[in-house]
Symmetry: C2
Amino acid sequence: MLGNFTYHNPTKLYFGTNALEALGEELMKYGKTVQLIYGGGSIKKSGLYSEILEILLACGKEVVEDGGVMPNPTYERLKVGAKLAKDNAVDLLLAVGGGSVCDYAKAVSVSAYCDDDPWEKYYVRFEEPTCKIIPVGCVLTMSGTGSEMNGGSVITNREEKLKIGHVFGSDVMPKFSILDPELTYTLPERQMVAGIYDIFNHICEQYFSGDDDNVTDYLAEGLMKAVISASREAKKDPRNYEARSNIMWAATWALNTLLNKGKTTDWEVHMLGQAVGAYTDATHGMTLAAVSLPYYRHILPYGLQKFKRFALNVWGVEPKGTDEEIALKGLSAMEDWMKELGLTLNISDLGATPDMIEGIADATRVQEGGYHILTRDEIVKILRESL
Amino acid sequence: MLGNFTYHNPTKLYFGTNALEALGEELMKYGKTVQLIYGGGSIKKSGLYSEILEILLACGKEVVEDGGVMPNPTYERLKVGAKLAKDNAVDLLLAVGGGSVCDYAKAVSVSAYCDDDPWEKYYVRFEEPTCKIIPVGCVLTMSGTGSEMNGGSVITNREEKLKIGHVFGSDVMPKFSILDPELTYTLPERQMVAGIYDIFNHICEQYFSGDDDNVTDYLAEGLMKAVISASREAKKDPRNYEARSNIMWAATWALNTLLNKGKTTDWEVHMLGQAVGAYTDATHGMTLAAVSLPYYRHILPYGLQKFKRFALNVWGVEPKGTDEEIALKGLSAMEDWMKELGLTLNISDLGATPDMIEGIADATRVQEGGYHILTRDEIVKILRESL
């Protein structure tokens, strides 16, 4: 049964080749000062940085530089960005990059004028912002996190070895996002496939929960099939526009609040993966890939009918054998596809060592929406199997 | 390939049992005068009218009554509503009913302050509004049209025997819509199944166009499967909340601009159905049902691969035989489902007579996005087969 919910997603998206042409029009809606947020400088190499700076200057903007945001943006870095935004009375935060940069921008938007400690308020107590929120706009250069059309913001606290996400409401969602699939072409293949698995797993996290025959589950299955089909084309030719555009569009819908409407969700793979990430600083999508199969095989008996449905509807497994056999064949088909993409299937390859297991287990939050609530022993077991 | 597009759908939805509780909070965002728009009075019988009036008065609103909007709202009626809105300097148009009432409210919203003739401007020349737009809110009592989360507005010009839809931009979309599936329980079964077919056909109109393997097509297939599954449950027990809530939610996503993003669309079934509606004043969904099979069988050779995919992915037809045999089996499965629901499968039962055919053909607009552009002779042939 669809539970009660509110749906509101006002982000305006410009999608396609030359979508950047819309930036000027959007910029005119905001004040003079723009904080330009980006990562390690790949946008300087690609020429995108100059292109955007030119548009900003042509629109008469004053630019506050905020480059060098790291892949897993830290609380320390957030404090720097929030001070920068407040000191310069910034009117718009323009994030140019992937999910980390967008997530960071959203964190800055609710932290600049926050009287409280933002980490404590948003990432420990999960409170909603009560201060002025600075509007965010995004130019996406990597597909995966869906951050371009949601209120999610994951921040890492290195001191406490914690990587935690807060999903803010529609006030914090980007006002606009520019999605040009060609801007993702410069991404190394490893980042591309990690992003693809992140997308796929976002759908899984929302799909593997609840027993009902809901619209949401059917949409999730359609989206998974689209990701599988497009990923194979993109693996063959990363400059296949059809494949890359479909991956980009699927990424947005995999995590823009539609797929969780009216239903419970799991998110335990993300909790495990984020804990691995806090210890290894590994690429997010790879941490998810490395823990997924041990986790799903562990919970399969508790959500047998859904895993069977997954096998039949997503992977086209023949409906022969016991429910468990069919369900396991679905996970095997998924494993084959993950190997085909070249995903990292164990956490050792990401730098995790046996002596880290207890610490990673401590850092893993236990979710209650999935088919089974993990005990600490089960978390340790799954992590050991992921080594 | 996904073509370039903009996506922006800011309508806020409150979905579920007692969703009406959110009305007060929304009303507080608008000024004092609310034009209360509704249909033939079924909301008075059900008690919904009193409930809403009580909320309006509790919020200190002045209510401008605009009841009695007919199922296919006319241009004549639109002029009355627009004058009412302007004369009373209405701050919010609150539509309580199904798609016709919502469509009418949107037409009033762009017509009240329109200096030009609204019919000519919006429904003949398809121009965008340049005047002040009055905000619209909806309380939905019938599922089908998707009008609660789009900019669509269909108006009938009885004098000219034309029923034409204009799809306005996000400024005209409802600011909020309240979707309580239980409010659809009072609908007679015939209206319920007509609404279900309207939903299904909205998906078909967007699906049966283009050759690509896009995210959109996969989402469309998922949504169609959800509608088929829920419709069977609702037919057995119209008070099955799970079924009715899934139908309501599918209706919204079938036509809230997602399924046409980056692709061409057809809409010829709607053109045929609307022309039949202009002559017979029959229920919209039934007019679509009555012309669909002759139309789809006629265009099948031109879109063979998509009809085959439809058979395999939506109806689970066995992949045996020629492409054409598989594709035709898909349409047979669809026909069986339509009979199961009790849909009207010919236009004679809707009041159309052979002598009307030429006139209906004249009133049928020819679309260019489908697999085949119809000639007038083909339109006549399809209409004759629909008799």
